[in-house]
Point group: C2
Chain length 497, copies 2
């Protein structure tokens, strides 16, 4: 007599009656008391038996149907149906029914391969006594976390609820104003409306690629260049025209030749503390680059990721400061100075260009996180930013001096060349004499307890010779001394093999 | 005798001597005392005159050259050169030298046009006495800002500096664990490794499009569908196969027919409180969708953006809960429940699929902001989230009831159809009898002091008839009453024209 069981209604229980009826029937199905095909009593019958309104029973039956417990056809009885079992851990197959590799597009597969290669590089050595010249992440010992905490606490206390709502898609306006103010000290004259906040400079670079390129578009890049720009450009299928880096910056003759052919969608350049080489170009060089690009109407994407990091001598003004024709798209970021985890980068460009990048940004992620922007603005307004920049200049001047001094002391004369940057965190080494695969070289270094960033990471195409980048972001002077000494011995040993 | 002026050195001043020399010469050039072509004294002469080491003068000359003040050729004199003026506001041309519209790719131009159209929609009426049924942004009056503040303060005080450093590119692990825990209450069994944090659900959708599609790829979508998915899909040049929405969800027969032709890269579906219609499908319908897609090995992208928002009756389990073959890519977000400004969304999918999406995410923006993730985790762990969900259920149950009750009362019988959702924030209206351009209809509503989201925003291709979405996210019951009354009169008036 299952129909009797169904009407076990307790009117003192909270919640609607129809749900009790529904729950009763569900429990019976789940236990197996009512099996597939069992015909439920007509709503009228059950309503009478339970002493409830017929509409209550109808509601319960609808709910059962919605939950997949019953089949119901117009003008017919409602019957219990076989439910698809809910997925649960032990039943899961170890492999999905389709291959995500096969379904991924070619560019997506390439990006994935690059990511796997990158992880493998980082996994090379995880011993304790290893000096790592690889990281560009902030040094925790220099992080002004206390000041940031006080700023975040202040803005949380003062701000309204809008801090937690969708923000201005272009970014928190007072922060954009602060950035405009800061850029003015670098000779760049832009208004807050000419700035778009991005999730790090990386998002800015992607937005530019999205706006100005299609698969096959030629784009002029420095060679070597920022390692994580390459997979991005490859994903978009760009035709990368490499301009070799010379001691004074990208080769102007090659640039001229590249511009004279099929017009590139843009030139991507890093004039300050170029990543990876650490080279800073002179103003003369920047003027030439601008003049060449202006003549051919080629937009310049200027990556100013370490604009603030000149600590030897005087800063050269960005190309953007000379941009009278609105052709320079400037990428900036706070990540290389403070708090990379806040993901605060920006694009400064002509207003129309910003409007177009903003449209692309909105359909990609609507807006960026507010809280970090508001707290960062307070951090800037209180003068903590300026103070912090001065502090890290002192720290990194010493680290870079140490790195260069130790290299001069320990690297074998004549066979090894390196750059001597006037700021930033990285320098670039070329071992001319070494003829071996890069992987072998890196393993050789790892055996000596030292890790560097392999040159292949920064070139769009394989190069002859051994190159690598050294970063002193996360190393104290004593560690730099040990690391460079090991590097010197390793190179000498590998040369002798 | 300019050479005499150059050697005005004050040894008591801080900073290196070379910089004083450099500054002196720069000032003379800037003032015009030394004009272009002026030949600087040889380094030896100047060093003797100034009583400094020759290397100091060489350093100063190098600096001048780097700053663009001089020309210098090997074996020749150093001369003052003409500097390109620094860009300054008044000199700027009002238009850039190139057209960003012309340089933008076709998809980028389309996205920009969509953005302009969207802004125009929002600009339709900005009067004070307007009831806006348009917004899906959080209601500030329901925002648990105090609890969030206390959580943020706690984590700021307790956490190390790593909270401000680059985070785990996949997202803050404890938050991913909390999400896995929450998804389990919806019958979805995934591990933290099968979750990727994204900048809102929107970024998740873009990553999927990047991974699985190329220009021209067929993709099955519901019609109407989430308005901001359309410009995204259009940007990627997808061939949109529209499956019409029926009262019980997407039309299964049409889906079957679409799947039988060229295999779509994926099906994009919103089974709960479908945007814009508010329809929630039954479990039976979900099983059919899954079975059809499984048979053709077509991945399902399930947008669970309002998974938690069932407040009438019992929640139907997501398609992902039945996914035994790892074919469902589930998009989730906190934005429709709490704090959209934190931009916390996620993708839950098969591990290999997550790894591939992660690679794409990294090259797009490296990682997402940490701080909000850590604070949100605390908010969840303290039970505030659960409590907040219950609170908004109470609030929105009443608002939705009010909206439906007033519609029944004020809309003209027979000519207007609407959905009656069991949760979420939106319902969908179709005015069959009205034959007029949508813009005219919207202006008619604006004259009556009421704004709605126009149907064209949710369709990939123009439709006959007038459709619109009503959202009660930001409206109190009294406002809903006024708004629906106005809407009813407006429709009756427009019908009579």
């Amino acid at each position: 007599m299952p129909a009797m069981v169904l009407v076990d209604i307790d009117r003192r229980k909270p919640g609607p009656i129809y749900r009790q009826i529904c729950d009763n029937i569900r429990a019976l199905v789940d236990k197996g008391t009512l099996s597939a095909g069992y015909r439920l009593p007509p709503t009228r019958t059950l309503a009478r038996a339970a002493g409830v309104d017929r509409s209550t029973v109808c509601r319960a039956y609808e709910e059962l149907w919605a939950l997949g417990y019953t089949e119901s056809r117009p003008g017919s009885y409602t019957t219990v149906r076989i439910r698809t079992a809910i997925a649960s851990k032990p039943d899961k197959p170890s492999r999905p029914a389709l291959s995500w590799a096969a379904r991924s597009t070619r560019p997506a597969r390439r990006v994935y391969r690059d990511a796997v290669r990158l992880s493998a590089k980082h996994a090379l050595s995880d011993g304790d006594d290893v000096v790592r010249f690889t990281s560009l992440a902030a040094d925790h010992d220099l992080c002004p976390a206390d000041q940031f905490r006080s700023c975040a606490r202040e803005v949380l206390a003062e701000m309204g609820k809008d801090i937690l709502d969708y923000g201005d898609p272009a970014g928190y306006r007072p922060l954009r104003e602060a950035i405009a103010h800061r850029l003015a000290t670098h000779g760049v004259s832009v208004a807050a409306d000419e700035i778009l906040m991005t999730n790090g400079a990386q998002q800015g670079l992607e937005l530019v690629a999205k706006m100005l390129t299609r698969a096959g578009s030629p784009v002029a890049i420095e060679s070597p260049t920022y390692g994580l720009a390459l997979p991005l450009f490859r994903f978009y299928g760009l035709d990368l025209k490499q301009i070799p880096m010379r001691a004074d910056g990208l080769d102007l003759k090659v640039l001229e030749a590249v511009l004279a052919k099929r017009r590139p969608a843009f030139l991507y350049t890093i004039p300050n503390f170029h990543n990876p080489t650490g080279i800073t170009t002179s103003q003369v060089h920047r003027e030439r680059v601008l003049a060449l690009c202006e003549a051919r109407r080629v937009p310049i994407v200027e990556d100013g990721f370490e604009e603030e990091m000149k600590y030897f001598g005087r800063a050269v003004l960005p190309i953007k400061s000379m941009d009278r024709n609105g052709m320079v798209i400037y990428l900036g970021t706070f990540s290389k100075i403070v708090f990379p985890g806040l993901r605060l980068g920006w694009v400064a460009a002509d207003r129309d260009c910003i409007g177009r990048l903003l449209a692309l940004a909105r359909f990609g992620n609507l807006s960026n996180s507010n809280l970090g922007q508001v707290a960062m603005h307070r951090f800037y307004a209180k003068g903590y930013y300026e103070k912090h920049v001065r502090r890290i200049h002192r720290a990194y001047r010493k680290r870079m001096q140490t790195m260069i001094r130790e290299i001069r002391r320990h690297f074998p004369v004549g066979d090894v060349e390196w750059t001597e940057p006037s700021g930033g965190y990285t320098l670039w080494v070329c071992c001319k004499g070494l003829k071996m695969p890069e992987g072998e070289f890196m393993r050789g270094l790892a055996r000596h307890g030292v890790l560097v960033s392999p040159g292949s990471f920064y070139f769009a195409r394989p190069q002859r010779g051994i190159y690598f980048r050294l970063s002193c972001v996360n190393l104290k002077e004593a560690e730099i001394e040990v690391g460079i000494r090991r590097l010197g011995s390793a190179i000498i040993e590998l040369k002798g093999q």
